[in-house]
């Protein structure tokens, strides 16, 4: 089972060959009490040690499939289930230095049954997690 926190320790990893890292991945537990159609996720922003990575530049990896930000907005039949994790794939030349980082996430979620002034709703978390190599 995933960790209780939204941001997961496992899954935090650099992407690409050691000498040519293209970015990194952050694994998140689904934070809502019901499944989320991808079209209800308006974006997932990531920060690492204060550096901001906007949702629009990242892709999402869910059940082996990649989704760009624009694709997610139109994907109504695929859901991010409760208890399931996805990875935010963040492009960053060189990746991240191995070690402990302070990683934050802000999820912008649309709950149609919430009044309009609460659209989107924000889910925020930050914690220290470790990238091993």
């Amino acid at each position: 089972m995933p960790e209780r926190s939204i941001i997961q320790s496992s899954g935090f990893a650099n992407i690409g060959p050691v000498a040519a890292r293209s970015g990194f991945a952050v694994r998140l537990r689904q934070p809502n009490y019901r499944a989320l159609r991808l079209s209800l996720i308006e974006g997932i922003d990531i920060t690492v040690d204060g550096e901001h990575f906007a949702a629009e530049a990242s892709t999402i990896l869910l059940n082996g499939r990649d989704y760009t930000h624009a694709q997610m907005a139109e994907t109504t039949a695929i859901r991010w289930a409760v208890g399931e994790c996805l990875s935010v794939i963040v492009p960053r030349s060189g990746g991240l230095k191995p070690g402990v980082h302070e990683v934050g996430c802000v999820l912008r979620l649309r709950h149609p049954y919430f009044p309009p002034q609460f659209q989107p709703a924000f889910v925020r978390e930050s914690r220290h997690i470790t990238i091993i190599r």
């Binding site: 089972m1 019901r34 209800l40 149609p112």
Partner: protein, 303 residues
């Protein structure tokens, strides 16, 4: 003497299910309260919703049979604001309801609670609700299911939203549509601030969390249309004192109104691991104690 039926919504174990307990364990905790009714959330608790595997369905029936649980309500959603650029049509809303009615029927449920998208702060449902529901009333009848919108804070009983639902029932004459009362509407003391909430946010946008304190007497005006009650609560202390919901007024009123449907626990409090298990048990002890006290007080009249 007629009595309530007791149930538990798996919503109570939010955040625990999937991190510190699985569905089977959650069902065991429900059964151990002595409750019979099991309420689930479609998109939360059915793997691969809306198309669970036949193996999962077999397992579901095996588990509830072993634990002597009866499926009550399956909570569902009609995501009217489907994407940022378009809303669901009436047909799409009806298709969503039809899909959920059929799934609920396959899993043995008697009620579905669709949560329609809303258009304002008073929780006025998206205008497709009426046409969408009308299109599936025959299906609900054939499947012996009742569709219930939820009367939930900040919407009280005396309100155009509730009145529109009652008007729909009266005009269509349907027996397959009713009101689900969430007992959060009777909350008469403030909730503690949720994580991230400030006094300013509470005052500006979330004042209903201080409690909208609907008088329990208002139940009499709609009880004929109420087939199911979600017993929402937030904290019950070790003296069985509920800090927010006035059960000592709700239970006698429901007894006087001859309500014999479910009280389905919906714990919505601190989400620290395992807290919900004990909170639900306290509520069942409290509700049963109040019901027994009411019944005992009536007995001399019938002696």
């Amino acid at each position: 003497m007629s009595s309530f039926k007791y149930g538990v919504s798996l919503y109570s174990y939010t955040d625990d299910i999937g991190t510190v307990m699985d569905l089977d364990e959650a069902l065991e905790h429900v059964a151990d309260t002595g409750a019979t009714g099991i309420e689930i959330l479609s998109e939360s608790h059915i793997p691969a919703y809306p198309m669970p595997s036949t193996a999962w369905i077999d397992r579901w029936f095996a588990r509830i049979e072993t634990l002597r649980l009866v499926p009550t309500n399956m909570a569902t959603w009609v995501d009217t604001r489907l994407t940022l650029t378009r809303d669901m049509s009436e047909q799409e809303g009806a298709a969503q309801l039809a899909q959920d009615l059929k799934l609920a029927h396959r899993l043995g449920f008697r009620f579905i609670r669709p949560k329609f998208g809303v258009v304002d702060g008073e929780l006025t449902p998206h205008p497709i609700w009426r046409g969408a529901v009308e299109r599936v009333l025959d299906l609900a009848h054939d499947l012996n299911l009742i569709i219930m919108p939820e009367i939930h804070a900040p919407t009280p009983i005396r309100h155009p939203v509730t009145e529109a639902y009652v008007d729909f029932i009266q005009k269509t004459g349907t027996r397959n549509f009713g009101l689900l009362i969430d007992t959060g509407i009777f909350q008469d003391r403030p909730l503690p601030y949720w994580p991230g909430e400030t006094p300013e946010i509470r005052k500006a946008a979330l004042s209903f969390l201080d409690g909208i304190a609907v008088p329990v007497e208002h139940l009499a005006e709609v009880i004929d249309y109420v087939p199911f009650i979600q017993a929402k609560f937030h904290h019950i202390d070790e003296h069985l004192h509920d800090h927010h919901i006035p059960w000592e007024r709700i239970v006698p009123m429901l007894k006087r109104l001859n309500y014999t449907g479910y009280l389905s626990s919906e714990y919505e409090g601190a989400r620290d691991p395992w807290v919900a298990i004990e909170q639900v048990r306290r509520q069942h002890c409290l509700l049963r104690r109040l019901e027994s006290a009411y019944d005992a007080a009536q007995e001399p009249l019938h002696a």
